[in-house]
Each structure stands twice: as C-alpha cells, then as structure tokens.
C-alpha cells in the first residue's frame, strides 16, 4: 500500500523543526525488578549506562535544538549518584525536566535539590496498591512504604509529585481504596492510571499480571465511577480508564450510524513522533522507549535535527497516520473501523512483531468477542 503521504511526507505532514521534548533512559539500572516492568528484557535494556560527560554534552545539543523539556526514566533515575550533576546540566541548557521513579530512593536532600532548580515539572512515582500486599505483590516486599514515603518527601520539599497506578490482577479490586489513599489521605491533586502492557518482564508473567476480560470490565466500571466521584482527578492515556472512555465513544458512534469520528479510521493511535524522540541508556536515539529496537543514530555523533527531520524509519512511523485500518486483514469487517485509531504501535510490535499494524491489545471487537462487556453509558 502506498499513499500520497508516504511518497511525499513533508508535504502532507507538518513537522516541528526539532523535537519539543526528549524521553531519556538515563540509566539501565534499577534497585527493583517489578514483574511487569516494560523495560527489563526489552530492547531498551541494553546493559549500559553512559558516563555523565556524554549526557552533559548531549544536553548542549538539546539547547541548540531548542528542546524545552526532558523526561528522565530508565531504570531508576535516582540510582545514579551523579543525578544532581545531570540535572544541573539540564537547567544550564535552558530546559525543564520530569522524572519517572519507583519512589524508593528519594531523599530529603535530593527532593530539596530538585525544588531548588525551579525547573522540575514533576516526579512521577508508581503506586499500585492501597496497602503493602497489593503494591508489593509485583514490586517487592517493603516497596509500598518506601514509595509512599518518597511521595511525602517530595511534597514536604515542594516538588510536584505525580502518581501512576498500573492496574493488574492483584490490585484491580483495590481501586477504590487506592483512590482514597492517593486523593484523600496523601492529598494529591490527581493521579493517572494504565495497565501492564505485554512488554519486557510482563511477557514472562502475563498470566499473573494481565487482566482477563471480566477484570478489565471491572477496572473500567470502577474507574469511570471513581472519575465521577473525584470530579476528574483520575486520568489515563492508556489502560482500562482510557479504553472505557474510548470504547463508549466508539459504541455511541456506531449506534448513531456516524460515518466516522475525526482523525480515526487510520493508524492514528500515536502522535508522539511529531513532538518528541527518545534516547536509550546507551545513547542510541529511538522513536520511543517502547520502540527501542528501532535504532536511529547515536547522541554526540549524529545530528538530532537531521535525524528528526530526515530519518526514514522515523518518517515511517509518522506515516502510519495515512494507513487506513480497512487495509488490514485484522480489521476487516469490523463495525468500529471508522471510529478506531489502531492503538499503540509499540504494543502492536510487542504482540505481533509489526509496528505498521493495529494493536490487538486495545481492540474493542476482540475484547467483545472474548466475552468482554462495555461499562454503562456515560457514567461520567
């Protein structure tokens, strides 16, 4: 299949001159081995950390490219003893930053330092339960109290603490209590949710981790009810809450006989390659940390701007947007075809070995065929 956009992408697809933000796996190391971690055993897990000076040099290029923000992940960023030096380099080069963390290594000194920079958007800590037994079930004993203390340490020092709840089989019945803990007891303004995707260590533990159709229904129903109760303070870009909202919208469009929904009916499930790029812990550019097998070049050797504007593999991912879902055998005959985005390309790759394909993971038709049910209409 060849589309006009594929032949001359620059004419159809508008692209910023340089990425606005960069996701950086600042380390390959972590003090935990969560059983559904997308990172370990994935192509992102390259068993190599770059020395500080390589990153500092790279940050200078990001400054020249007018990148405004970096997100530090891994691995566990706080495991790097030189993290303050790296953050000083980010600040010196006119950027803001955020950090994705398991929360267990955050000290008062580090939190105070982050606050002192004035440039920290947030530190995101993973909390997967309201009590140790649910959180620790896949993250390791003792991690719940440490992670909660990490959040309190951030709050005490005036750093914006964000929380991500990954929903799995052990905590799907604990969601009410998790929301109460985070929003009422800890007093966070909001938190976000997702579910463990079929990547990295999750691939080995999928039976214990990934939700059945019935559990997915329970998660969607519970989260939609909690969103209403807490007036929108729970969000999601993927996982049961996002799916519940999206699938209800798709079902409504089908019932009303709409021709299509805006920006749907094609592989439009991911807009990331239009605004950001990622770097592995060994300094290799990749389109996304979850598409780390696609190597685009190396920092401090290849020009970021050149890769961003010209790399054919990056354009190939951007051009997914021009591929109609109707061209895929997987989607043939689907009643939701014109209302669907084809979902995450990284999950399509993880499940099928193909980036240019709809992902079966968030496929409404497949979910219904497997006995899944939609939650009640518009509980929000």
């Amino acid at each position: 299949m060849t589309s006009p956009a594929a032949e001359k992408p620059a004419r159809r697809l508008r692209l910023m001159r340089t990425p606005k933000s960069v996701d950086i796996d600042i380390t390959d190391r972590c003090n935990l081995r969560c059983r559904y971690c997308y990172f370990f055993t994935s192509p992102a897990d390259v068993k190599q950390d770059l020395p500080r000076d390589e990153w500092l040099r790279f940050f200078e290029e990001l400054n020249r490219c007018a990148v405004t923000e970096v997100c530090l992940a891994g691995g566990e960023p706080f495991i790097r003893e030189d993290l303050p030096d790296l953050i000083r380099g980010i600040v010196r080069n006119r950027m803001r930053f955020s950090i994705l963390s398991n929360g267990t290594l955050i000290t008062d000194d580090l939190a105070a330092f982050l606050a002192s920079t004035g440039r920290c958007n947030y530190v995101q800590v993973s909390i997967d339960g309201s009590i140790p037994i649910t959180h620790d079930s896949f993250r390791g004993q003792g991690t719940f109290y440490k992670a909660v203390e990490g959040i309190r340490t951030l709050q005490r020092n005036g750093v914006s603490a964000a929380v991500r709840v990954t929903i799995h089989r052990q905590n799907v019945r604990d969601l009410d209590n998790i929301a109460r803990l985070l929003l009422e007891e800890i007093g966070l303004p909001s938190f976000s949710t997702n579910s463990a995707g079929y990547m990295g260590l999750c691939q080995k533990n999928t039976e214990q981790v990934q939700l059945s159709s019935e559990e997915r229904y329970l998660a969607m129903t519970t989260l939609l009810k909690l969103v209403k109760k807490y007036e929108g303070r729970i969000s999601a870009q993927a996982g049961p809450l996002a799916e519940g909202r999206d699938w209800l919208k798709m079902e409504k469009a089908r019932r009303e006989g709409l021709d299509s929904l805006p920006d749907r009916g094609y592989l439009t499930g991911c807009g990331c390659p239009f605004s950001k790029i990622a770097v592995r812990s060994d300094g290799v550019y990749v389109p996304c940390n979850m598409l780390s097998h696609i190597e685009l070049g190396r920092i401090n050797r290849d020009s970021l701007q050149d890769i961003w504007q010209n790399h054919p593999d990056l354009w190939k991912i951007r051009e997914r947007r021009s591929k109609p879902l109707g061209d895929f055998e997987f989607c043939r005959g689907c009643l939701y075809l014109s209302y669907c985005t084809g979902n995450c390309p990284a999950l399509a790759y993880a499940l099928l070995g193909q980036v240019d394909h709809p992902s079966p993971d968030a496929c409404l038709r497949k979910y219904l065929e497997e006995g899944g049910r939609l939650p009640e209409e518009s509980p929000e």
Binding site: R14, M16, R17, T18, K20, A66, T68, V91, R94, M95, R96, G118, R119, N121
Partner: protein, 93 residues
C-alpha cells in the same frame, strides 16, 4: 549595550515551529509566548546592540506591506516582552 537597546532574556528559548511562526518558552515559568514571523525577526535583533530604531529599519527592509506606524508596533511589542520577563534593558552602573 545601553538602556535603549533591548536584550533577550538569555534563559528564554525561541522555538521556530511551523511556517516561520515561533514560540518563546521561558523555562523558569513554563509559559509560552507565540510569535508571528515579524515577531521572530524582531526577537532576533534583541542582542543589546540594536536600538528600537535599528530594529524598525530591519523590519522595513525585510518585510512587505509594512504599516506606517510600525515603530509604535515594535515599541509596544518590545514593551510587552519586557513586561513578560522575556526581554530587558541593561541597567547601567
């Protein structure tokens, strides 16, 4: 540099995005400020070496259909940048 020669705040990032439009991003406040192509041209002159008159001259030379009151437009624009903390004047002494 002097009091009549405006200077861009060195912390502020100019992101040139689509069709010569741009955004000024202040990393200390996380706020953005949209610039049209003429605004971008003016911003690039804020080096502490050009007076407003110099800048207006550059605009007249580089742009088409320049309005007669471009001097006032430029003055207001730079004043707004200064008010937003995106530019300033060197303080003597």
């Amino acid at each position: 540099m002097s009091e009549d020669k405006p200077t861009a705040n060195p912390s502020v990032i100019l992101r040139e995005e689509f069709d010569d439009w741009a955004v000024l991003f202040d990393p200390d406040t996380a706020e953005g400020y949209a610039l049209n192509p003429t605004g971008v041209l003016v911003w690039k002159q804020l080096d502490g070496k050009h007076t407003l008159e110099d800048i207006v001259k550059v605009v007249r030379e580089s742009c088409e259909d320049v309005p007669e009151d471009v001097g006032q437009h430029a003055k207001d624009f730079v004043a707004d940048l200064v008010k937003q903390g995106l530019a300033g004047y060197e303080v003597k002494g």
